[in-house]
């Protein structure tokens, strides 16, 4: 019937005006244009690199790096390769990103809850902190915290001692280093056993509750098992750890463990900055749960804490987790500002000193780019998995 009305048209016109074919055509054109653009850019870069006598090769990675890195978790010295310098850099980035995410999450949840507090002073203090922190670039926070540590903490000779075992100085926090005796592994094994027991006990307690209605104090029993059991064993076995206490030798402390000021500054600044955003996310998540939910739970006689655990948080998490993921990614990427205070992360090692020494900017930057990409995708994947596990089933 429609054919009777439709005027005769050529093939192109008919394809172009078909809803499905048109979208396929547009996608094909877009892909061709994008690929063409990149092919052009890459070809140009290759030609230009060729012209100044630089190939594209990763051979430099095996050469000696000939620079030192003060914080390394794997064997490293100036005779190690650029590749090894890169590994040290990644580990340093992962360390500060991981510690930052943990601290930012804890601080952020506190800030979010404080901001909702009915106490005028508490909520205003949280508000002022959040507004100040959010509105100043994170680079300034990093420089500020670093400056505070370097300039306001004492030099090693006048270190602030904590019971003469740990020392806070402008060269970092020197703390005792544990030296494990063989018996310590018994304590450690007990700790692992207690963790496994706790996981099992949670299920068991849930089952008992389902069957009899009896509520075990799961939290306190878990705390008792995980902390108490290894603690008692530790003392019964005669404290099988000796501590290597740092000592002042010359101008600095030797021995013990040191947490460097660059790490502390970066860690505090990144977490403090991200915590402000997380605080707002948490606040909005809690507000997003209709107050009627709290009232309904109250009317049923459910206590305030239980209401939070059983009704509000499960619903708030669904609003909180997706933007929380981007905050974690932001923090990880912002850690590249480490270079401003000389914390040796990926950018400062392979993307900084190695690049300058070898002149391999394309290769070094590609490596840095790919490493950040992998790290970010891993975080996203983990958070997406978590998000799916708490997703609103609702319908």
């Amino acid at each position: 019937m429609s054919e009777a009305v439709t005027p005769q048209r050529n093939v192109v016109s008919r394809l172009w005006n078909d809803k499905e074919t048109r979208s396929v055509i547009i996608q094909i054109i877009a892909i061709v244009l994008i690929l063409g653009f990149f092919a052009y850019i890459i070809r140009n870069a290759m030609i230009n690199l060729e012209a100044i006598g630089k190939g594209f090769s990763f051979k430099f990675l095996t050469q000696a790096s000939s620079y030192d890195i003060n914080q390394h978790f794997i064997e490293y010295n100036s005779r190690s390769s650029h590749f090894r310098a890169m590994l040290v850099g990644i580990l340093n980035t992962i360390l500060v990103a991981f510690c930052g995410i943990v601290l930012a999450t804890i601080l952020g949840f506190f800030l979010g809850v404080l901001r909702l507090s009915k106490n005028w002073l508490t909520s205003k203090l949280a508000y002022v902190y959040i507004e100040y922190v959010r509105n100043v670039p994170v680079l300034l926070h990093i420089l500020l915290v670093y400056g505070l540590i370097v300039h306001s903490l004492p030099v090693p000779k006048q270190a602030w001692g904590l019971a003469d075992t740990a020392f806070l100085t402008n060269r970092g926090l020197f703390s005792p280093k544990p030296l494990y005796e063989p018996l310590f592994w018994v304590v450690f094994a007990l700790f692992v056993a207690a963790v496994i027991f706790s996981l099992w006990f949670r299920r068991y307690a849930q089952k008992v509750q389902d069957d009899t209605g009896y509520h075990y104090p799961v939290f306190w029993i878990t705390v008792g098992a995980v902390i108490g059991l290894p603690g008692i064993a530790y003392f019964l076995l005669g404290s099988p750890i000796t501590w290597e206490i740092p000592e002042l030798k010359g101008f600095n402390y030797k021995g013990g463990m040191v947490i460097r000021p660059e790490f502390i500054a970066l860690w505090i600044a990144l977490s403090g900055y991200t915590a402000a955003s997380i605080g707002e996310i948490v606040r909005s998540g809690i507000i997003a749960v209709n107050y009627g939910q709290t009232e309904a739970a109250a009317a049923l006689g459910i206590s305030r804490e239980r209401t939070l655990n059983l009704v509000v948080i499960p619903q708030a998490l669904r609003v909180i987790v997706p933007p929380l993921t981007s905050q974690y990614l932001n923090l990880t990427k912002n850690s590249s500002l480490a270079i401003a205070i000389g914390y040796m992360d990926i950018v400062a090692t392979i993307g900084g000193i190695s690049l300058n020494q070898t002149g391999r900017e394309m290769e070094c930057m590609s490596i840095v780019l790919i490493l950040y990409l992998i790290l970010s995708l891993l975080i996203s994947a983990a958070m997406n998995w978590y998000n799916r596990s708490i997703k609103l089933v609702e319908r």
């Binding site: 509520h215 939910q293 009232e295 009317a299 049923l300 499960p314």
Partner: protein, 256 residues
């Protein structure tokens, strides 16, 4: 208000005793000198124009709202700042809200078993048994494993009633339970409420369903401007209202 003149009613005899109760929101005097005695098994319908304080009054009975002056004694327990007392009262008083307020992240069955499990410390199977029993009474046992979002408004409100009943309350409060429903769903909810009334539940119900008031109520209370203006049995109340304001209100809602 003959009961209110009784100088010292024994609070044990009544399901709810409200004496000389006042409430303010900041400067605004929402409830003025409320006196109300509810005997066990009594069904009371509260009506009045919007903003008259009727919802606020019944929300004071399980302390979703605090009163600032006077006394409220529910089932022998006085409501004060004592959190334990509030918990005791809330356990015995069920409430149904205008907007249902079901927990969207839990199934219908879980909505019903949450409080029995966590407040009454009931074994899961027993709680589920009771929940199914009440879901059958509100005629939706087949929806037990669905989520609230999958149900119609009328069904959701019936789940909300079942959820309250699972705590085996002695008193039920209804805060405009049918106001958010489509007309064809009002009946199914009212039917459940009438059945509940016939079983002897003490009920306080804020509603504009005058048909319901006529069939079920022992007393109808009319509120305006934060005061109880008039209270009477339904026959007298609808046929022979004493106050001008009551007459005006009745003429407005009965017109349609």
């Amino acid at each position: 208000m003959n009961e209110a003149t009784n100088p010292n009613p024994s609070s044990e005899d009544y399901a709810v005793v409200i004496r000389d109760m006042h409430k303010w929101y900041g400067q605004f005097h929402v409830l003025k000198d409320i006196n109300l005695l509810v005997t066990r098994g009594e069904k009371i319908v509260v009506c009045g124009p919007s903003g008259s304080g009727k919802s606020t009054m019944i929300r004071c009975i399980n302390r979703l709202e605090e009163h600032q002056q006077g006394h409220i004694i529910v089932d022998g327990t006085e409501l004060t700042n004592d959190l334990k007392n509030i918990e005791v009262v809330r356990r015995e008083v069920g409430m149904v809200f205008q907007h249902f307020n079901l927990f969207p992240h839990l199934t219908v069955l879980e909505n019903c078993t949450l409080a029995p499990i966590w407040v009454r410390k009931m074994p899961k199977l027993e709680a589920e048994g009771i929940a199914m029993q009440y879901l059958e009474r509100v005629k939706i046992p087949d929806q037990a494993n669905k989520y609230p979002g999958q149900l119609s408004g009328g069904q959701q409100q019936r789940v909300a009633i079942a959820r309250s009943l699972c705590m085996k309350p002695r008193i039920m409060l209804f805060d405009e339970p049918t106001s958010a429903l489509d007309p064809e769903m009002i009946k199914e909810v009212l039917d459940v409420m009438i059945e509940l009334a016939n079983e002897g539940m003490t009920m306080l119900c804020v509603t504009h369903e005058m048909g319901f008031a006529k069939t079920v109520a022992d007393r109808v209370i009319f509120m305006d401007g934060g005061e109880i203006i008039e209270e009477n049995n339904p026959a007298e109340f609808f046929e022979n209202a004493q106050h001008e304001r009551t007459k005006l209100f009745l003429s407005q809602i009965l017109e349609h």
